[in-house]
């Protein structure tokens, strides 16, 4: 069953006379509890697709639907659709307000969507939520400045989960973290996907990371999807030359890394 359906999405930036086409007729779909990996080099339009799904960017043309209901800009979505689609951002530090502590960051999510807020003891619920993302209860009183990058990203994930979403958009969610933390967060996302029955739109330029988490993979280049299919097919036996080039580039880097190491 299709959860998220993107049809002929087109987004342009800049002047009306000479616009920059960031996304040019992209169609994608994500099934329930499925993870779609979206890969491509920087500037290929991945993030713009993510922002359209999250409702931060208005497309010039095309539609985004969630279970057949249109996803408009975030302010115009009914509360339940706002809840259903949440996003985790690239930079773990700047995605949390540095003047708020973790408890009030999560509390804001619950205040905004009372229907998702725990009915009983909020402190207990907060601690349970933090435990879900692998954080100690004492993190609740800390501010983002006192936390590590990995902890910040866990808090961001907790904030997204607080409203019990069904689709999680991860925009380069592990790219800013160092490798060991990256693996931990990736494992956390894989676990949460199972326990919370989440569908994911997972965006990354790192093919290795996408390979570990995605069921299906779509490859974007200059605003268009050039190849799409099951992860093992696309990354194992790429059909499009651009995908091959991306894979080769990743392999080259890996080789170079092992030589210098």
């Amino acid at each position: 069953m299709t959860l998220l359906e993107i049809r002929d999405l087109r987004v342009t930036f800049g002047r009306r006379r000479d616009p920059f086409v960031a996304v040019d007729g992209v169609s994608l779909s994500v099934g329930a509890e499925e993870t779609l990996g979206l890969v491509g080099e920087s500037g290929s339009g991945k993030t713009t697709v993510a922002r359209c799904v999250a409702g931060l960017q208005r497309p010039d043309a095309g539609t985004v639907t969630f279970e057949g209901r249109p996803l408009e800009r975030v302010g115009r979505r009914p509360a339940e659709l706002q809840r259903a689609v949440q996003m985790v951002f690239q930079d773990p530090r700047s995605s949390l307000n540095p003047r708020m502590n973790v408890a009030s960051i999560i509390g804001e999510a619950w205040r905004t969507h009372p229907s998702a807020a725990p009915s009983g003891d909020r402190t207990a619920a907060l601690h349970a939520l933090l435990a879900d993302v692998g954080l100690d209860p004492d993190v609740a009183t800390r501010r983002p400045g006192d936390l590590s990058g990995g902890q910040c990203q866990r808090v961001s994930i907790a904030r997204a989960l607080a409203v019990r979403p069904r689709l999680l958009v991860c925009d380069e969610a592990v790219s800013a973290l160092d490798v060991s933390v990256q693996a931990q967060i990736l494992r956390l996302l894989v676990d949460l996907r199972r326990t919370h029955h989440l569908a994911m739109l997972f965006i990354s330029h790192d093919l290795g990371v996408v390979h570990q988490i995605a069921d299906r993979v779509a490859v974007m280049r200059r605003g268009e999807v050039v190849e799409e299919g099951p992860a093992s097919d696309v990354l194992g036996a790429p059909q499009h030359e651009y995908t091959r080039a991306l894979l080769d580039a990743a392999l080259d880097l890996d080789d170079a890394g092992s030589v210098t190491a």
Binding site: A79, Q82, F89, S94, S95, L96, M100, T112, R159
Partner: protein
């Protein structure tokens, strides 16, 4: 994180050491003015209508008819200059704080709305800011102050009429850059109402630049008030103001220099020190110097 802290610390102390005790002078001077404005009028009696003509134009340090000492002399109506300076300090500080308060609230709101909303609303507001900025501030204040009955409220309104623009411009540019922060996007995705986003996720981060600007504006407002009062369209004559005292003494500049000169020095010292203070605050908290 810890590495960054240890690296930053020596740099910060080095900068502070270079400023040294000289950097503290404006704090001390401005603090003294505030103290005088606050408690001076409680210690010294002054009534602008009480004019002991036998004491007129006494030079600084003379003894008055009732046995007291006019430490800074008297004016053409025998009124004490020291008392006028002290009461004038209170007037200046009051007008300065009131005007900066009004201007910063108006400017913060309009600037934050413009920067956050972007689009046509921002385009319209930003053009208004630019057009008003091009208008000479003191001229606009003179027009407003001259058109109505003299009162403290009118002076505050006339000076606020242009002072808010700088606040609006600074807040707008800070809000424009803050809007791109991921935590603002994150709260938008959550569906947090726009008003809360503005209030909780944007406005708190404008505090540094706005406080720095408020100090600079305070100096300009005090100068503006003195200017209006000097021209006779500022405060009513029952309120003591440096501008009025300076204007009173201008016919006696050759024979009784102290009437105009001493309040002028008081005014200049305050403006210069508040200005330096504002520059220091701008360097520390101003826009672009440090990530909010």
């Amino acid at each position: 994180m810890t590495a960054a802290v240890t690296l930053d610390a020596p740099l910060a102390t080095a900068r502070r050491r270079r400023t040294g005790w000289l950097g503290k002078v404006p704090y001390v001077v401005v603090g003294l003015y505030l103290l005088v404005a606050l408690i001076g009028p409680l210690l010294i009696d002054y009534d602008p209508v009480h004019t002991p003509l036998e004491d007129r134009l006494l030079s600084p340090g003379s003894t008055t008819a009732d046995g007291g000492t006019a430490w800074l002399g008297t004016d053409d109506l025998g009124r004490d200059i020291l008392a006028q300076i002290v009461y004038g300090a209170r007037t200046s500080v009051l007008i300065g704080i009131a005007t900066v308060g009004v201007a910063s609230i108006v400017g913060l709101l309009l600037g934050a709305v413009a920067g956050y909303a972007r689009g046509w609303l921002d385009a319209v507001l930003a053009r208004i800011f630019d057009v008003l900025l091009a208008f000479p501030a003191i001229l606009l204040a003179i027009v407003i102050a001259g058109a109505f009955q003299r009162s403290i409220l009118l002076v505050v309104v006339a000076l606020s009429a242009t002072a808010w623009i700088s606040f609006a411009r600074v807040t707008r540019s800070v809000a424009l850059s803050l809007r791109e922060r991921a935590w603002v996007d994150a709260s938008r995705v959550l569906g947090v109402p726009q008003r809360s986003i503005l209030w909780r996720h944007i406005l708190p981060f404008t505090a540094g630049p706005v406080v720095a600007l408020a100090t600079l504006e305070f100096a300009l407002v005090v100068l503006g008030e003195a200017g209006l009062s000097f021209l006779g369209i500022g405060l009513p004559s029952s309120t003591v103001s440096w501008g009025q005292t300076i204007a009173n003494g201008k016919t006696y500049l050759e024979t009784a220099w102290w009437i105009s000169t001493l309040p002028g020095i008081a005014l200049s010292l305050l403006i210069i020190n508040v200005g330096i203070l504002g520059d220091q605050l701008t360097a520390r908290y101003g826009r672009g110097r440090r990530d909010p």
